[in-house]
Each structure stands twice: as structure tokens, then as C-alpha cells.
Amino acid sequence: MTTKLLQYPLRENAAETLKAASGRRLADVTAESARAGDLSMADFQISADTLRAQAEVARQAGYPQQASNLIRAAELTAVPNAEVLRMYNTLRPGRATHAELVALADLLEQHYQAPECGRMVREAAAIYQTRDLLQK
């Protein structure tokens, strides 16, 4: 077992270094800051770095597919809520043309630096075409 795995759970073993998506240190997410109205939802959100660390925990524990999912999740932290919902709906069957799916993959890769998500959408575009699941 490696050092990284031994850090799990991060809440106990890496509390000093953990930061929310906002950049606020976990140690600064306190009752006082909540009371003072200093917190925002971004302080309750997991960061891309932490998701990558959890992906590494999953990979080392023998859950490679779950690790890949957490990597994709890390990438999606950069995408706003409404945009994530829109992307999901685009991927549902019969919603998009091949070109629209490829455009989504480009957007993910180039604008959001989300190569794994982009790859998944690109793969879907090809298979949707093969299986007739594109917008008619």
C-alpha cells in the first residue's frame, strides 16, 4: 500500500491541505464564517485537485473505471451548473447531430480543458452514428 492510499480518508488525514473549489482552506469553513455570511456554495464544493486525489485512491484500491469517472468529474468542476445540464441533455439519445456532438467534444477539450470528457463525447458521437441515435 502506498503513502497516498494511506491518506484516506482525506477528511481526517489531509485536512490541513484540503481546499474547496473556491480555494478556501477546509479549516476556514467554520461555523463562524457561515454565521458571518462569508461562505458561498463554492466553499462547499469539491475541487478538481481533490477529485484527482480521490481518483488516485480509487485506482490504487483496484477500481480503475471509478478512477476514470473521478478524473472526468475533476474536469467537469470547471463547467458551470447550467452548462453541465445542457451537455448531459445533448448526450441523451436523439438530441444532437453528429456535428453538435463533435462541437461539444471540442468545447470540452479546448474551452474547459476536459480531455477525458471530450474523448467520451467524441466516442459517443461515433457510436451514436453507427447505432442511429443521432437527431433525425
Binding site: L5, Y8, P9, L10, R11, E12, A15, L18, A20, L26, V29, A31, A34, R35, G37, L39, M41, D43, F44, Q45, I46, S47, T50, L51, A53, Q54, V57, A58, A61, G62, Y63, Q65, Q66, A67, S68, N69, L70, R72, A73, A74, E75, T77, V79, N81, V84, L85, M87, Y88, L91, R92, P93, G94, C117, M120, V121, E123, A124, Y128, R131, L133
Partner: protein, 744 residues
């Protein structure tokens, strides 16, 4: 045809309200081994799967593609596919083979290969496998909390009680979708009132579910449904890629995800394509794994009645649970949707998951009455709480819940209802009145709740969902209204969301808000003495049923002031005249003074003597010291009796009519049902004993039989007998004087 009364009664039994059908493979009405199911095969060329279970890549459907490209670990596949399926089946039940080795093999198995492994296994073997392959060492359980009127105070109170009962996750859903943000909020606040760390979710349409999660109102999502054929998947308005994207989207917001699948859904949705339910479920499970979900809710779920209508259906449901664990997935193992009219059938089915233990024994134990369950009725309901607790205590099996006292429940229900009331007030939602809070504390169902203004509630919910108020507003509301601990728990839930530990396989939080998952609480079962064992404090709390009593004061009612009218004279002599001996036990009238049903010993004796006297005979009373056994007491009395007839009377009331010359354990009449005895019975026994002594033809005294008496009174019987046995001494039978005169 003549009508058999027995068959007529059988026809009316609950079990015969179910539908039973013969298999029909073409319609997908077959649980396993359909003629259409493929043979296992896997061909890989240059790292690309080119054939899967007999199908070349060019003919793949969306599931085949996803399984081939994401679901299989090709590094393990060569060994796995070359290992005979029976060998893998044997490894599953071999305690010397650890879970990790099975995980490696299963990760390279195609769907048809997985099904072939199961073909070699019976239910007992699968249960052994499930106990070993469950991902989390410690089993747990999930509750459903809903109510028909979607009342927030009742939802919060029921969620708090469910948390108190030990459920690690609480799922809710809505009748009217627009209620979702309020319902999710009520469950969250209620559950965290009892303890921090109960995971909560609200089952709604996928997009709405994601919105709730983003607002911080839920911490897990489990209704990401997957199906075993392309047609069903698309009818479900998703593909494996959209589902995989959705699971990444949830995880990106720190939300634990679990997919849902289950035997029967494809047949129900008309797209089974002639395949067996289990083969299609194996496909679902590999897709689930391929999408990177940490777990699955399976075990047929809402389709349960469909496999149950077919032969081997319940076995197939266990098989799908086992397959999921073999793929390293957390399993919430069904037992949620109403599965049978028959309590026997429901309980028997439950045992398949309850005894081996799964990550969540039920994927939704209905924590309210069935009529309040918006999931369509639970298989086990609030009315069954005590039954469930007793099952845990009976078998020393951890079913993930604990018994609670009424006082504990009312205290926490009250606090939860007041907490949600405070949140509503601070956030400007329609007021929850004190009367509603009070009703929620004591209510069993929503019909006991005051009506709310539905239009106003829905309008407020509509405004809340897209608005600026979030879980943080809720935290501040709780703080400012003095619910510091609830606020602290919600805040810690937020920190945990930032840490993401509960995204890992089989993660829950324990009562100390510590994460417990397949990473830090991995199932290490390798046979007796290993793995999870019920012990220590957990075993204590499982034993402590509120209705359990101390047996020490069970017989207080039978112990009174020693009878003053009964005096011991000295060793008894053999009689020569026609007489009846009434031989009493060593505790009679002294250490014990009343029978099991509360009759005074003096009154019992008087009744017997009255009966004897009515036939013109006299009775002598002797006390037998050397035994507490009823037959032996009677037997000893018969040896002293001038007529050879005796009545043996134990202090608890059990009575025998004995006769000299009979074997000790034989008798003329035996009255073993002491709780049914009345003074009239005792008098009749006196009459009969006298008639036997006079050599008259005698009809046995009719006895009342209460089949439940033994169940009700066996502990008391044992303790009374023990008390009498403690009075046994090495003394001869003693002549007793009973200060009594016949009334006539």
C-alpha cells in the same frame, strides 16, 4: 368436481393472490438460461475487443460497445475467460480464496461468462459468495421517507427517526415533482438533526436531481437507471455515455452516485429480445462498472414481482446481487418494493440478503406506513420495525438498524420538526405552525397532519429552486434560531463534500461522522472468525429491545405471604381407607403462593377438596419434597394413598391424576395447560379423583387448549419451575393440615 375444504382455504391464502406463470423465453419471461442467451466468448485484437459473447464488433449494440471498451479489464480477461466457470464458482465459496482474487477474475469476464458461473451455484453457495464479496466490511441499510401529503414537518420527523433507527442513507421522492426541493430539504434537515452524516437523496428526473445536488440539498443519487438492451436503454432516454457523463457530473459536485438496474425491467418495457433476465442484468452491471459508478441498486427493485412470477426468480435476484459484488460494486440489494402478499414469502426472500449481509440490506426500508410510500409501497414498513429488530436479535445478524425507545423517538422527532419549522420561518417559506410540529411528533401518517396550503407551498418551492438561497442559507437559519448542532452537522456535511471521501466504493458515515468505505473498511472475510462479526456495543444495542424485560421479577405475582391455613405436621403415613391424596410440590403455599394464572394456592386446594368431598370421600394433603416434577409428585402421592389414587399438583398449577401401579410418567388424567385452569377445573379434578378411588366409571375432565399459552408463558413457566426446584430437599413426604371445611 367435489370441492375440497382444504383446497378452498389454500386458494384464499395470501400467497395465492400472486401471479405464477410458466417461462416464455421469446417474451423475456425467463429468469436465466434462455435459449437465446449467447455462449461466452471474447476475442481481442491489438487491444480492441473484436468479438463479445459470439457477436462480432460490427454487430455490436450500444451496450456491447460500452462493455467492450469500458467495462472489461482486458489484462485479466485472458485468464478469466480461460478459467472454467465451475472453477470460478468454486472459488466463490472457497474460504481460502480472498475477495481480491475473485474481483480480478470477474473484471475480465463477459456477461455470458458471468451467467455461466452462476449456473453452477445454488442459493446457499451464492449467499456464501455474497458474504465474502460484499465490498464494505460492515453491512448497512437504507430507508425510504415520504408521505402522501408531502408534509415537511412529518418528513423531517420521519427522517430523524429513521436516522435514530440506524439507517445510513435516506431516500425520498415526490408525488408532485415541484415539491422536490422542499422534500429534499426536509429529509436533509431531519436526518442531520439526529446525527450528522446520514446520506440523503431525492429520486426525481435526472436533470432535476442534478439541480438539487448542486444546491447542496442531496448528497447521493441512486436512480441512474441502466437497462440490458439498447431498445430499453433508449426508451429510458439515455445511453451508457449519457449515463457515464451524468455520473461524472454528480461526482464533480461531490455527490455519491449509484446506478440502478434489475432483472425484469427489459421484459416489462418490451425489449428483452428473448434474452434471460439474468443475462441482461449481467450486461447492465458491466455497463455500470464501465461508467465508473461506485455501486448499484439491484435486486429487481420495482420489477420484483416479474421474476417472482417465474420459477427460480428469487434465486436470480440473489444472483444479480452476487454478480454486482463480483464486479466490485457497492450493492443496495432491493427488498424495497412490495414483493409479495405473503409475509412468509417476503421474509424468506429477505434472508438471502439479510444473512450474508450486503452494503445496504434493503435499498429502501419504508420508514412509514405503506399508504404513505410514494415509491409505490414498501416491502417492509414502519409497522414491521419491531419484527426486523427481532430478526437481528434472533440470528445475531446485523441488518443495519437498531431498536429504539418511544421516548428517544419523540424527542428527536420534535427537534427535527422544530428545526424545519425554523428553516421555513427564516427563509420566508409558508409557515409551519406549532400545531403542525406537535402533530408531526406523534403522527404515524400524514392523515394525522393539519392540511397545508398546497398552492403556496408549491409557489415557494418553485421560487426556491432557481433562487439564491442554498444550503448555506439553511445553515445560517439554523444557527440564528439556536439549532447549533444541526447547523454544525450540515456544515460538516459540506466539508465532507469538499473532501470527497464518500465518493469511494460503499461509503457511508458512521455515527461519529467517520467515513466507512471499501477503502478503509474493506470486507476481509476468509471464513469463520474473519470478516464482520456482530459483537461488543453493536450486539448490545441489537439485544436491547425496549419490550425486552428483566426475567428476574417475572414471577413476583406468584410469590406472596405463605399460606397460614396450611401447616406441616410430620412425615406422612400410608393410608388404608378409601381416600384421595392431594400431593403438592415443595414450593406449594410457601415459596410460591399462586398458580401461573394467579389462583391462590389455598383456593385451588379448597376447590379440589370440595370436589372430593362432593363424592363422599376425604382427601389428605401431603407435600412432596424430593421432586418438583408433576408426574413424580403424583406418583409419590399414589404410593401413600389408601385408594391408590392421588392428585399431583405443582405450585404453578399443572396437575395430574395418578394411580398406584402405573408407571411414573403414566397417568389417569393430565392437565398440562396450567394457564387455562380455573377453580371449576380443579373442583372437577377432585370429583374425578374421588370417582376413580370409588371405582366408578368416569369421564375425563374436559381441558381447554390454548395453543399460544406456551409461547406467551414459557419464560414464566421455566422460572416458576426453577423456583420450585430450588425447594427440593431430601425429606420424605410430609402430612399437611389444611384448615378448611366443606361448604355443604
Amino acid at each position: 368436481m367435489p370441492i375440497s375444504r382444504r383446497f378452498q382455504l389454500l386458494e384464499q391464502r395470501e400467497i395465492n393472490r400472486e401471479t405464477f406463470v410458466e417461462p416464455w423465453p421469446e417474451a423475456g419471461l425467463i429468469v436465466a438460461d434462455s435459449p437465446a442467451d449467447p455462449q461466452p466468448s471474447l476475442r481481442v485484437d491489438g487491444g480492441l475487443v473484436v468479438e463479445l459473447d459470439g457477436r462480432p464488433r460490427l454487430e455490436f449494440d450500444i451496450l456491447d460497445y460500452f462493455i467492450a471498451d469500458h467495462g472489461l479489464d482486458l489484462a485479466s480477461a485472458e485468464v478469466a475467460m480461460a478459467t472454467p466457470s465451475i472453477d470460478i464458482a468454486r472459488k466463490l465459496v472457497d474460504i481460502n480464496i480472498p475477495r481480491a482474487e475473485i474481483l480480478r477474475l470477474a473484471s475480465g469476464c463477459t456477461p455470458a461468462k458471468l451467467v455461466e458461473i452462476i449456473r453452477h451455484m445454488n442459493v446457499l453457495e451464492m449467499m456464501m459468495g455474497l458474504g465474502k464479496m460484499r465490498a464494505r466490511r460492515t453491512p448497512a441499510n437504507q430507508a425510504h421517507v415520504t408521505n402522501r401529503r408531502e408534509h415537511p414537518a412529518l418528513l423531517a420527523a420521519d427522517a430523524a427517526e429513521a436516522a435514530l433507527r440506524g439507517f445510513a442513507e435516506i431516500e425520498t421522492t415526490v408525488g408532485v415533482a415541484r415539491y422536490a426541493p422542499f422534500t429534499a430539504l426536509a429529509i436533509l434537515v431531519g436526518s442531520q438533526t439526529e446525527r450528522g452524516g446520514v446520506l440523503t437523496q431525492c429520486a426525481v428526473e435526472e436533470s432535476l436531481g442534478l439541480e438539487l445536488a448542486m444546491k447542496g440539498l442531496t448528497t447521493y443519487a441512486e436512480t441512474l437507471s441502466v437497462y440490458g438492451t439498447e431498445g430499453t436503454f433508449v426508451d429510458g432516454d439515455d445511453t451508457p455515455w449519457s449515463k457515464a457523463f451524468l455520473s461524472a457530473a454528480y461526482a464533480s459536485r461531490g455527490v455519491k452516485i449509484r446506478f440502478t438496474s434489475g432483472t425484469g425491467s427489459e421484459a416489462l418495457m418490451g425489449h428483452a429480445q428473448g434474452y434471460s433476465m439474468l443475462y441482461l442484468e449481467a450486461r447492465c452491471l458491466i455497463v455500470t462498472r464501465g461508467a465508473g459508478s461506485q455501486g448499484v441498486q439491484n435486486g429487481s427493485i420495482s420489477c420484483i414481482a416479474l421474476p417472482e412470477s417465474l420459477p427460480g426468480g428469487v434465486r436470480a435476484v440473489l444472483a444479480e446481487n452476487l454478480l454486482a459484488t463480483m464486479l466490485g460494486l457497492e450493492v443496495a440489494s432491493g427488498n424495497d418494493a412490495l414483493a409479495s402478499h405473503s409475509d412468509i414469502r417476503k421474509a424468506a426472500k429477505l434472508m438471502l440478503q439479510f444473512i450474508p449481509g450486503t452494503d445496504f440490506i434493503t435499498s429502501g426500508y419504508s420508514a412509514m406506513p405503506r399508504r404513505e410510500n410514494l415509491f409505490g409501497g414498501g416491502n417492509f414498513d414502519a409497522e414491521d420495525f419491531d419484527d426486523y429488530s427481532v430478526l437481528q436479535r434472533d440470528m445475531q445478524v446485523d441488518g443495519g438498524t437498531r431498536p429504539i425507545s418511544e421516548q428517544e423517538a419523540l424527542t428527536i422527532r420534535s427537534e427535527a420538526a422544530r428545526a424545519i419549522q425554523a428553516v421555513y420561518a427564516e427563509l420566508g417559506f409558508p409557515t409551519i405552525t406549532d400545531a403542525e410540529v406537535e402533530a408531526a411528533v406523534l403522527a404515524h401518517g400524514s392523515e394525522e397532519m393539519p392540511a397545508r396550503d398546497v398552492v403556496a407551498d408549491l409557489a415557494a418551492a418553485d421560487k426556491f429552486l432557481p433562487g439564491e438561497q442554498t444550503i448555506l442559507t439553511v445553515v445560517r437559519a439554523l444557527q440564528s434560531r439556536g439549532f447549533e448542532q444541526v447547523a454544525a452537522n450540515l456544515l460538516e456535511m459540506g466539508r465532507q463534500r469538499v473532501a470527497g471521501d464518500y465518493l469511494q466504493t460503499s461509503a457511508i458515515f458512521d455515527r461519529n461522522f467517520k467515513v466507512q468505505s471499501a477503502i478503509n473498511d474493506v470486507n476481509d472475510y476468509t471464513g469463520p472468525g474473519s470478516g464482520y462479526r456482530v459483537s461488543g456495543e453493536r450486539w448490545q444495542e441489537m439485544q436491547n429491545l425496549p419490550q425486552a424485560k428483566s426475567p428476574r421479577d417475572f414471577i413476583a405475582e406468584q410469590i406472596g405471604t405463605p399460606c397460614v391455613r396450611l401447616a406441616e405436621l410430620g412425615p406422612a403415613q400410608s393410608g388404608v381407607n378409601p381416600e384421595v391424596i392431594v400431593a403438592v410440590g415443595p414450593a406449594f403455599g410457601t415459596a410460591l403462593t399462586r398458580t401461573i394464572n394467579g389462583l391462590d394456592h389455598e383456593a385451588v386446594l379448597a376447590a379440589i377438596l370440595t370436589g372430593v368431598a362432593s363424592q363422599g370421600l376425604v382427601a389428605r394433603v401431603v407435600k412432596v419434597y424430593r421432586t418438583s416434577d408433576c408426574a413424580a409428585i403424583g406418583h409419590a402421592g399414589a404410593q401413600l394413598s389408601g385408594s391408590g389414587i392421588s392428585i399431583g399438583l405443582q405450585s404453578r398449577g399443572t396437575t395430574i391424576i395418578h394411580k398406584r401401579g402405573l408407571a411414573r410418567l403414566s397417568n389417569l388424567e393430565l392437565f398440562s395447560q396450567s394457564p387455562s385452569m380455573t377453580l371449576e377445573t380443579y373442583q372437577s379434578i377432585g370429583v374425578n379423583a374421588a370417582r376413580y378411588a370409588l371405582g366408578q366409571a368416569t369421564t375425563p375432565v374436559p381441558v381447554q387448549v390454548d395453543n399460544w399459552a406456551r409461547l406467551r408463558l414459557i419464560v414464566k413457566t421455566a422460572l416458576l419451575h426453577r423456583h420450585e426446584t430450588e425447594q427440593v430437599q431430601d425429606l420424605p413426604p410430609m402430612e399437611m393440615r389444611f384448615d378448611w371445611e366443606p361448604d355443604f
